[in-house]
């Protein structure tokens, strides 16, 4: 397998390192959030959650799905960013 730019010190293609990192973090967390949303909302009805948390607020299912999806995206992006930060090597 290709050792990747971190190990070889070279860039993949013409994208800057910074741009690659941002794209990789956003994209991998997006995919994780998609899978997570399917699992989460397969098991959980947002209306049930609202019924026990904020029963006074008139919130729709679609709002619940959207909140859940973007929340998962955010959390996954944080994890990806953290992993990337921990793996970064100090410059010589």
């Amino acid at each position: 397998m290709d050792p990747g730019p971190e190990e070889t010190g070279s860039e993949i293609g013409p994208w800057s390192r910074r741009r690659q990192v941002v794209a990789a973090i956003l994209w991998s967390s997006f995919l994780a959030a998609c899978a997570g949303s399917v699992l989460l909302f397969g098991l959980l009805d947002p209306l049930d959650v609202f019924a026990i948390s904020t029963p006074a607020l008139p919130v729709s299912r679609m709002t619940g799905y959207a909140i859940g999806f973007f929340f998962l995206w955010l959390v996954a992006a944080l994890a990806a960013w953290l992993a990337r930060t921990l793996l970064a090597r100090p410059r010589p």
């Binding site: 994208w15 800057s16 699992l39 009805d45 609202f50 709002t63």
Partner: protein, 457 residues
Amino acid sequence: MTSPTTIEPMYASAPKIYPREVSGRFARLRVAAVWLLLGLFYAVPWLRWEGRQAVLFDLPARQFHIFGLTFWPQEFLFMAWLLVLAALALFFVTAVAGRLWCGYACPQTVWTEAFIWMERLAEGPRQRRIKLDRAPWNAEKVLRKSAKHLMWVLFALFTGYTFVGYFTPVDVLAGRLLTFGAGPWETFWVGFYAFATWGNAGFLREQVCLYMCPYARFQSAMFDRDTLIISYDLERGEPRGKRARAASRTGLGDCVDCTLCVQACPTGIDIREGLQYECIACAACIDACDSVMDRMGYDRGLIRYATQRSMDGGESRVLRPRTVIYGVLLLLLAAAFVAAIALRSPLELEVLRDRNMLYQEIAGGRIENSYTVRLVNKRQQPVEIELRATGLPGIELSGAGPVIELGPGELRALGVRISAPAGAAPGGGHEVTVEAAVPGESQVILGRRTRFFLPAN
């Protein structure tokens, strides 16, 4: 990330690739795939089945309709199963035939192809596009560029609308969007998907494959020496070199070094340097090279679909442990999936708490909660059932009538009330079960749990 002294630019680097248009067997195959797959994508939401949209992932109602089948959230295992099947099928195809998915079926390829077609319509073929981009801004450039972007934006918006049409009835959505009466989330997701299509197919294109596609990085795990890849016949082609006529080569191989294969490549690589992870196996270089070979009077196939083993002079095998294991797993899981669908529960029962009111006190010191019960008879015969509630002492279900008759395939939503004595349990939410049973008998067909609220005493 970056050293303190240098700040790397975010959007400065990638040189634009202008893939040369090619014609040939594989280009025709890809155009056919584009028509078929995009055609399916845009047409499927408009199919009807028994008076409703045939394929509708109705998220607001939490039901997935796929022709005659209806899936409820509690059956989402089927969906996960289907995804596993799709992944296995991808592994299997990859092991046998390489990145066929990338070249012909990936949404990224298919939409990029459509966007490039619009680009050519507005800006002309490759040389004209390069010239246009270098030219100063004049009336023609403004006109051609705006025409392209107008087509792109309209097509992307229609794509976003169609995408949302899989989740909310597509005809109703059309009316609502045209009168600006769509819900905020519908509007948002149409825009979101349109933006993603426009960005990915119009601008990012091959960069999605290079930087963002996980499959491209996993593929080496699925490849072996018997996998079909796009290969340049080194033996036959080298030493490459230009020549005046086909006959006038002196010690040169078949490669005339015309670089058409490089110009045709959507990811901008030179296939003659061997297999690279950037190669999406679109076979544009094969078509380009074949056309040159034809003109020169040489045999086709200097660049061709071949396995590493056959290139090395060996005999390729389709049947090998890897393909057999993927194939057998695929067959087993597919058979089990079909069987599981066929053996699903004959009845569907869903209980939704009414959210308007937590509870209500009624006569006799009882507390009442309201629910909507959705019943579906999935069989082709009528069925009679009785609804009961269990889970608390003295609990009763009313409002559904003694016996409910459901016709073949009938879906019925019923408003029911469940009541229990105020002191039956401490205040708060309690789990109760609504059961669909055979009338007058103890046999329970199906039970669904729901919550029942009592006031604090």
